[in-house]
């Protein structure tokens, strides 16, 4: 099987995110960069399929020079080769543009399954996988928690509101990985050492033959309203405090 895993380098979920004073973006220094956790599930699943059915795994990432570290991590996990799409014009690009770049680099690679994370934890958009599938004219199986490949088809489990679906699809297809799909492996030291020697092709937009044509733009970044310190709800008795809690959850926190 030939499998492709798309990965994105994102800030660690606990890193402090500071919005630039002019609202044009976030401050990048001091950020701890990691592989998007949902993409990690995709890489892990790709490796498991390779180990079961034979074949190879190629890992692709769009981003500046620093994303090479993330590609190397995937190589250390066991992928065979990497493709790094590095072009300043693609920085901060919208989902369609990113997917275009990915599609251009994938279309000439033989592949049976393309894994993406169901969303990236920085922009929380969740679109690239599906757009990629459309551009390659292949089916998409999104937010999947189990994958089984048999011959030329794949069966997946997809959680929905109130249950889950068992879906079958032809290959090739795009699968976007959800938490619970697997537990990604820890990289072994020999893996890390070998990864340093595995090939990583670097391409820019011109090499891919695409023109960058943005479809959406972030015009402003707004820091969240300062999180008020936690409130201790006081009241004469439980019915009073309970009522106040429910009111706050609905009207202030908007969580129910």
């Amino acid at each position: 099987m030939h499998i492709v895993a798309c990965v994105k380098q994102v800030p660690d979920s606990e890193t402090l995110i500071r919005v630039k004073p002019d609202g044009s973006g976030i401050e990048e220094d001091g950020i701890k960069w990691v592989m998007n956790p949902y993409d990690e599930f995709g890489v892990e699943e790709a490796l498991r399929l390779k180990e079961k059915h034979g074949g190879d795994v190629t890992v692709i990432s769009v981003g500046p020079a620093r994303v090479v570290d993330t590609i190397r991590t995937a190589l250390a996990m066991g992928a065979e080769k990497g493709i790094h799409i590095d072009d300043p014009a693609l920085e901060g690009a919208d989902a369609y543009t990113t997917a275009t770049a990915l599609a251009a680099s994938i279309k000439d690679i033989p592949c049976d399954i393309i894994f993406c994370g169901q969303r990236a934890i920085d922009d929380d958009s969740g679109q690239v996988g599906s757009i990629l599938a459309e551009l390659l004219n292949i089916p998409q199986l999104t937010i999947v928690t189990k994958v089984d490949v048999e011959d030329k088809t794949v069966k997946v489990i997809k959680p929905v509101e109130g249950g889950q679906l068992l879906i079958e699809s032809s290959l090739p297809c795009v699968i976007t990985a959800q938490k619970g799909l697997n537990e990604p492996r820890y990289t072994s030291l020999p893996g890390i050492m070998k990864a340093k020697k595995k090939p990583v092709d670097v391409k820019d937009a011109a090499a891919l033959g695409i023109s960058v044509d943005p479809k959406a733009k972030v015009t402003k970044m707004i820091p969240p309203p300062g999180t008020p310190p936690g409130k201790i709800i006081e009241g004469d008795d439980a019915s009073v405090t309970a009522a106040e809690l429910v009111r706050l959850l609905r009207e202030e926190a908007n969580v129910i």
Binding site: S13, I17, V19, I26, D94, A95, Y96, A99, I121, D122, D123, D124, G126, Q127, G129, S130, I131, E134, P139, L141, I143, K155, P159, V160, E161, G162, G163, L165, L166, I167, E168, S170, C173, K179, G180, P214, K215, A216, K217, T219, M221, I222, P224, G230, K231, I232, I233, D237, A238, S239, T241, A242, L245, V246, L249, R250, A253, N254, V255, I256
Partner: protein
Amino acid sequence: MAKGVWLVAEQRDGAFRKVSFEVAGAARKLADELGEEVCAILLGHDIEGIAGELGKYGVDRVYVADDVAFEQYTTDVYSAAVAKLIKENNPSILLLAASVQGKDLSSRLVGILATGMASDCVDLKIVDGSLVATRPVFAGKCYAEVTILTTPQMASLRPNLFPTVENEKAAEVVKFDPAIDAVELKTKVLEIQKDTSGRVDLTEADIIVSGGRGMKGPENYNVIEELADALGATVGASRAAVDAGWRPQSDQVGQTGKIVSPNLYVACGISGAIQHLAGMSSSKCIVAINKDPDAPILGKADYGIVDDLFKVVPEVTKELKKLLERGE
């Protein structure tokens, strides 16, 4: 010239899902500002009858395609049908709910229509005739304002957020031919497994209610379960409760249990030692009910009640049930 605010309505088992009305309400508001029409697309099987209902919620016209192929959602036919209609009618805005179906469908449409979309929006407004969407990024640590540079300007809306409008109007219902015979079916739903427990897995749950050492025994968890039912939540447990054998290991939230990030986490009788916090600290909203005023979790909670959980929790459940009865 692109015109019209369109939406894709979502139905299940012959009835609209509540999100459809929320999206309709948002569409109505935008359309009023632009002075344009609101059109909805409805796909399904045996659903022609319900189409007009959308008029009550602000929709001017509903385009319906009724076919057995639409009985169960699949990307192939739904995206093809919607795309056809959108290409024919060229609306300026297209909205969907950021539900499971909505996420799958909307993203595919972005690809087919070669446009841009703001996903999981919490606010929409019109600025200089264009849509400006506000959406959370970095797990809600900040917000981004997004403009779409192409048409249709797409946005998916966070469920349970946007208000619905209601009036006495009826919508015009128009049948359209989705031309799905030409669509190659590449995926098939083999089986629908309904969740008998009715509860989502902890790691994917939007709302979690957890009980800890303060529960004092397995038999007392019924107060937690009732609250969970009222909230539509999944039940979790702290390590102390699992160790004591009151709850199964699969319920354990914490560093050595499950790491969860729900929108709402209600911790009952849990002190909040660091290993537990490590498992749920990324919850958007934390509520703590504990009779110990020194419990560390109260320092981390957005809302805390220092009282006996056996008094407070049933009251909260009662209040929630009242809310549901009022239809909110």
